[in-house]
Amino acid sequence: MADPLHQFQVTPIEGLDFGQVTLPLVGTVHLAFTNSHLAMTIAFIVVVGFLTLVTSNAKVVPGRLQAAGETLFGMIDNLTESIIGHDGKKYFPFVFAVFTFILGMNLLGMFLSFTATSQLAVTATFAFITFGLVLIIGFAKNGLGFFKLFWPMGAPIVLRPVVGFIEFISFMLRPFTLMLRLFGNMLGGHVALKVFAGFVATAVIGVAGWLGVLIAPLSMGMTVALTALEFLVAFLQAFVFAVLTCIYLNDVVNLDHAH
């Protein structure tokens, strides 16, 4: 029986493995179109296709499809507006793109055999893009005043270096918690799902003896319940990623009047 971690293996798709290729500047790499690429490409096509579908033939009074798109749009618009405030509109495209892409990959992972966001490389890319953007906006907007972020005005003067140091550490840890949260949630959820599905298979083939009569339906029920939970988690983690992106952006955008 395949182990529960088997589903996370990145393998080249038949016929699209180009083998060892020497690229300029990069050197020799193993170039292949993998199932990870495929999952991300499908997610991209689904997201772009969905948003194109709902915005084509737009009316003042939205139909069912358009209302679905507007709800998604309005939710993130509301988020940026309420967290970042007046400047939120400027950062909406980035947050919306990240949110829809992660949501697309998370949800497709529930239908396909491969979840792109359960790869640390994918979530790390998202986290470091977000972190880099926060740094760039922070320095572009505030210049060296960016470092006021680590000089808490609310704390007593004696404690300020200590609190500032802790703030700095937690700031530098942000990309790592951001990437590990998404990665761990998707990985853990899918492992749990496959473990319980494995129990059903084990009980059905009769390894557990007569106890299988009890184990199989219980595990099956658990699998169904976990699948429902996983759909919730898939949405929630994409949403949490968007909220945290907004909060981190808010820190540097409204640096002057936040503290």
């Binding site: 590990l180 949260r181 929630l236 983690q237 949490v240």
Partner: protein, 74 residues
């Protein structure tokens, strides 16, 4: 003790960090429910904060899980 056995025990101990995450997430949802029952009209606007808090607490449990996986597989 063999290295393999020590690894397995270490990985198991590392995942104990999840206890804290469980307590934290339980606390957040429990307190939210208590607050929401006292003032249901204000509950809807705090759902976003609720999930952000839960996610922040949960991340630490996930860190413990990742640490366990690292010890076991690396």
């Amino acid at each position: 003790m063999e290295v393999e056995a020590a690894k397995a025990i270490g990985a198991g101990l590392a995942t104990l960090g999840m206890i804290g995450a469980g307590i934290g997430v339980g606390n957040i949802f429990g307190n939210f429910l208590a607050g929401a029952l006292r003032n249901p009209s204000a509950a809807g606007s705090q759902i976003g904060n609720l999930f952000v808090g839960a996610a922040l607490a949960e991340a630490l449990g996930i860190l413990a899980f990742v640490l366990g996986a690292l010890i076991y597989f690396a």
